[in-house]
């Protein structure tokens, strides 16, 4: 007679170690993460954008000089961002293809340039270019 040995009950896999690993990973992500709300402003013109860029040779450009202290000047007159915005809006309403050209001082801050670009974009301009002067011997 052959006696059948009863099968031992299957051992349960302990979940404790998995929970430990999950908990450590969770704490790691919570501690090391910094949540930043960031946006972007395009700095270079893409090929498809340049092809569709308005402001043909007929449109008269609006040149804005950004001084070192961050104050924008148009035709030698200093403007606040509010008055500059209304000036750009008036020009854009008269001719939507009006290109805005910004000549910033090398000593102006990044914030002042971004604020100017922001003002021009809000005023409705669709063509904004930044030019800079290079000193060459």
């Amino acid at each position: 007679m052959q006696l059948k040995r009863s099968r031992p009950p299957a051992t349960l896999i302990s979940l404790v170690s998995m929970i430990d690993v999950l908990m450590i990973m969770l704490i790691f992500f919570m501690v090391t993460s910094t949540y930043l709300n960031l946006d972007m402003v395009p700095m270079a013109e893409r090929a498809e954008d340049s092809a569709a860029a308005p402001g043909g040779p007929g449109a008269s450009a609006l040149l804005i000089r950004l001084a070192a202290d961050g104050v924008p000047h148009v035709q030698g007159r200093a403007h606040s961002l509010t008055s500059l915005g209304s000036l750009i809006a008036t020009r854009v309403q008269a001719d939507p293809a009006t290109p805005v050209i910004v000549l910033p001082s090398a000593a102006a801050s990044t914030q002042s340039l971004v604020a100017l670009m922001d003002t021009a974009t809000r005023a409705g301009t669709t063509s904004l270019r930044i030019i800079r002067l290079e000193v060459r011997p």
Partner: protein, 134 residues
């Protein structure tokens, strides 16, 4: 004769709910977090209202308030930044270049650098900003 009743075995508290919660939290942090190399110096991006959503990926060039540079979190000089971007552009020509400049950085540090990156063939260069009224 009084028979003593065996004390009931206390059932262990189920930890399945805990595992579920921890797992959901983990997946949440994994999904919403974007691993990004931070700059080795303090960078406070400029404020802008008209910025659009910043896409992920690409190479990040950080510019400090005093003009210090870093590429993808590692400090580098201008030549190293440009060579790093040039080699990355050969692998991925449509590489997004994110310029993370401090809001007080003078434009003499920023604009020539952007022009040089553009001259390398980069077609997608963006300036990182923080949403807000300047």
């Amino acid at each position: 004769m009084k028979l003593a009743r065996r004390p009931r075995r206390e059932s262990p508290e189920t930890i399945v709910a805990l595992i579920d919660v921890v797992f959901f939290l983990l997946v949440f942090f994994l999904l919403i977090g974007r691993m990004d190399a931070t700059a080795p110096f303090q960078v406070t991006p400029p404020l802008a209202v008209t910025g659009s959503d910043l896409p992920g990926g690409g190479a990040t060039v950080a510019v400090s308030a005093t003009g210090g540079l870093a590429l993808n979190g590692s400090p580098a000089d201008r030549a190293k930044v440009l060579s790093g971007i040039a080699s990355a552009l050969t692998k991925t020509p449509a590489l997004l270049i994110r310029v993370n400049a401090h809001r007080d950085a003078e434009l003499r540090h920023l604009l020539p650098l952007v022009a040089e990156i553009e001259a390398l063939g980069a077609t997608d260069i963006v300036l990182v900003v923080t949403p807000g009224v300047p």
